[in-house]
Symmetry: C2
Subunit: 510 residues, 2 copies
């Protein structure tokens, strides 16, 4: 048979069927823009006039899965605008996959109530959406994932995404994206990087469309099918806080100092150690004590990991930390730093924490300080629900970094509002106790008995070491034994451990 | 059923079977290092003592596909060392997928002759391996792909790679890799980036093992399963030339000047245009003329693409080109520049040229100057075989950028060694004529009749415009009509167009 340039092509070669050439722009592989000589693919094909046009262009249909990132946090306009447009078109029965749901997303409640969204796959869930799920009103159980677990699920094909709608603080006319420039700059696009790489179709939604090509590229044009320009994708005030608060509360400062001392004596506090700090108050305050100890001992850290805040940036700028790996930039200082400092590296959620990869960087973290809603006598941690079962939080990277790190410290007060949070059993297990090494409270520090090395190393630290059971008894003595939470009804949600197994369930509460 | 933290987990939820949690390090997703508290995954698992250990660790078996990149070019030691080790283990029947095969790879001939390698998938093929294939001795037909077509085939799953062996000029102890540091620095790792992302197993082979974490990361630790440290992965003299030659041959200079004039008058020579220059002599010399014209007209280019050479680097440093996108660094100047200049960007083969993506950057190239072995009166180009059918070249990115660019100029002399290279029909069609816009020779310039716009624009350029048929007739008049190439025997190779169809075949020659 002769092909389009007149060559004789055998129908079979070595037993394999051969496709003869049909012309340079005839066989368009999936995602290929047709192009052709002198055709500006972007102007003619990628750049659309509205979200409505993009929904049509990607062929969104009932029952598909749409995804969003939460880097714009409580300033995000994108999710509401997109789902409003989807609802107007009468499309229904979608699964919403979000890297997390902030309080601002309560704005999509009408579309959950009306059945435009019938399934939710997320790390965080709270507010009105949380109440709706807890009341058993969502047709399908909500799936709660860790940041690393979500990356694993997406990259493995377990969570296929039909269309990723990506809020893009800066996007060029062919779809190269970054998060560090533009009026809605949010810093790292770590969660979105995974969605863009794996989704069947990708729509970039930007308020800062710039000429091609962008110099700094976090998501490449090769992964972006369509671009929509809006007046604004987010409210900068809701995207980043000016700077995160370092506590002046004496109880929180005490917890922070204890946590820093645990690190100092743990055996991991040596030159080129690595550190992860969350955005919680205790974590931020602890940074101050850790800095002092690093200076006193004359050591520096090889790298820091996180959720990055200005505190970490300051440590890098002062030479105490060599590199920062940033999956999410929490404040304006970290966004600025990511933009300008070559030692501040953006990383994807997969690089950060996916257990489906060769080795996410959480596996290299020496010490991490994490917060908790409640902890139990088996060191299990809940960061998702209240003790009453109410959805109000997010696993985020908590289970990932607890499993990966050499030293996982969970810091929390013994009581919150006169309510014990070291308990016999937590309401929802998010992070299993065998990955939690030390629990630090204002009244005492408990070391996981699995960690005989830490028990030995911390012996002479001067810390008020106690058994976790004694901490729990002390809490109950101070407040009285708490009432057991109501048993709860049908399963309305699954709490996935990072490896894809189910570690707990969420039950209906009335 | 109760899971490992004692929670009741239903067996089915919403009709889906649920996997109960079994412990934090029990269910190991594919590629996960088992880790666990206080275990140094790298030292204990990733870092191996020899290539032999790595072959065992990845479970290499008869019939698998192994891949290599050619960024170390004629200085590469990696391919020979790996295949020697495989042969010693008695493993046979492998497919070799290489981004290209340089002359140095003749060193693996014994393993092709003995059946360790029975199939080859590559862009370039030459030397003894080319002769072996042409003689019909390889059990399976060789598959010749473009750089973009190879990326497409790998990313789509059409070309599954079992094990990628990646020569890593610098690698940290967890597998983060770059190509710009170390004694065997080769610059961009553009081809290897695709292999690392998609191969089932990835082995990094390095002679510059550095502490974790690397600041500059081209291939992330999450994609690397094992690391082997050798004394040397390559000979710097064979990796980069000191600086590529700019011609002093008057005929070549004339061709270059014509090519630059074609660009000047084409309609694409305006501020923020984009340019690709190959590493051929005409392309490099043309850069000099293009620079002069840019200065005269006061315009700058938005970006350059390629295979990058020192000539392009110089243009960037002088402010004539704003950004460089580099899939392969050809000389020491480009390697240095990629290391130090933030406006010199590394790109993957997929970003460069894959027709399976949203839009590879070849689609954004205004003008490209390419070389050719021979061109025919239908503007078809051969860069793979001689006119006699002998394998001696590589499609590389030729068909990709010809299809993507707005203006594809093919520059070659009318005669080579008194042998006509503008012919009635080329021996092997690699780049189809409808993607080639202008053929420039020392004796005249032919515009593809499909491009009426160019015919109009170049009317007053002062160039010696001719029909391609007249160029061919002139060549034949000067040398006599060439003897037809022997018909050739059985099919011994397939020439794949970038979209996956077959544009031509390679036949046995005796």
């Amino acid at each position: 048979m002769k092909n389009a340039v007149g060559r004789d092509i055998p129908e079979f070669v070595a037993g394999c069927k051969v496709s003869p050439y049909q012309g340079p722009w005839t066989c368009i592989p999936s995602r290929q823009s047709s192009g052709g000589k002198g055709v500006d693919v972007s102007a003619s094909e990628k750049l659309l006039k509205s979200i409505d046009e993009a929904i049509d262009a990607v062929g969104l249909r009932d029952g598909m899965t749409i995804s969003f990132h939460h880097h714009l946090r409580n300033g995000d306009y994108v999710m509401k605008l997109v789902i409003d447009a989807i609802a107007r078109k009468g499309i229904r029965g979608l699964k919403l996959s979000a890297s997390s749901l902030s309080a601002v997303q309560d704005a999509i409640m009408p579309h959950i109530e009306s059945g435009v969204i019938v399934a939710i796959d997320t790390s965080g869930i709270r507010g009105e959406i949380g109440k709706f799920v807890s009341a058993g009103k969502l047709p399908q159980p909500v799936m709660i994932r860790t940041h690393g677990g979500r990356a694993r699920a997406i990259e493995s094909g377990e969570l296929p995404i039909d269309v990723a709608f990506i809020g893009a603080p800066t996007c060029d006319t062919y779809g190269n994206i970054n998060g560090v420039d533009g009026p809605a700059a949010c810093g790292s696009l770590g969660y979105a990087i995974v969605d863009a790489a794996c989704a069947d179709k990708v729509v970039a939604i930007t308020d800062n469309l710039v000429p091609h090509p962008l110099q700094r590229i976090s998501i490449p044009q090769t992964q972006v099918d369509f671009i929509v320009k809006l007046d604004s994708i987010g409210d900068p005030k809701g995207i980043s806080t000016g700077s995160l608060r370092i506590s002046t509360d004496p109880k929180e400062l005490l917890i922070s100092e204890y946590a820093a001392t645990v690190i100092e004596y743990s055996g991991y506090f040596r030159n080129n150690f690595s550190l992860q700090l969350g955005s919680g108050g205790a974590s931020l305050s602890a940074a101050k004590f850790i800095q002092e100890k690093m200076r006193a001992k004359g050591i520096t850290a090889a790298f820091g990991v996180g959720g990055i805040t200005g505190v970490f940036v300051e440590m890098m700028e002062q030479g105490l930390v060599n590199l920062l790996f940033d999956a999410q930039s929490f404040d304006s200082a970290s966004i600025q730093s990511l933009r300008k400092n070559a030692r501040h590296l953006e990383m994807s959620a997969s690089y950060y924490a996916s257990p489906g990869t060769g080795s996410p960087i959480v596996n290299n973290v020496d010490a991490v300080i994490l917060s908790a809603t409640e902890v139990d006598i088996n060191f299990n941690v809940n960061v998702l629900t209240g003790s009453n079962g109410k959805l109000m939080g997010a696993p985020g990277g908590h289970p990932d970094t607890a499993a990966g790190s050499n030293l996982c410290i969970v810091a929390l007060p013994l009581l919150r509002k006169n309510f014990p949070v070291i308990r016999e059993s937590v309401h929802t297990i998010v992070t299993p106790g065998d990955t939690v090494d030390v629990v630090v409270t204002d009244r005492g520090v408990a070391i996981n008995p699995l960690r005989k090395d830490l028990i030995r190393n911390l012996k002479d630290s001067g810390l008020p070491l106690m058994l976790i059971e004694d901490l729990q008894r002390l809490a109950y003595e101070l407040t009285g034994t708490p009432d057991p939470a109501p048993a709860g009804g049908d399963v309305v949600g699954l709490v996935e451990y990072r490896d894809g197994t189910i570690i707990d369930v969420i039950r209906k509460i009335s």
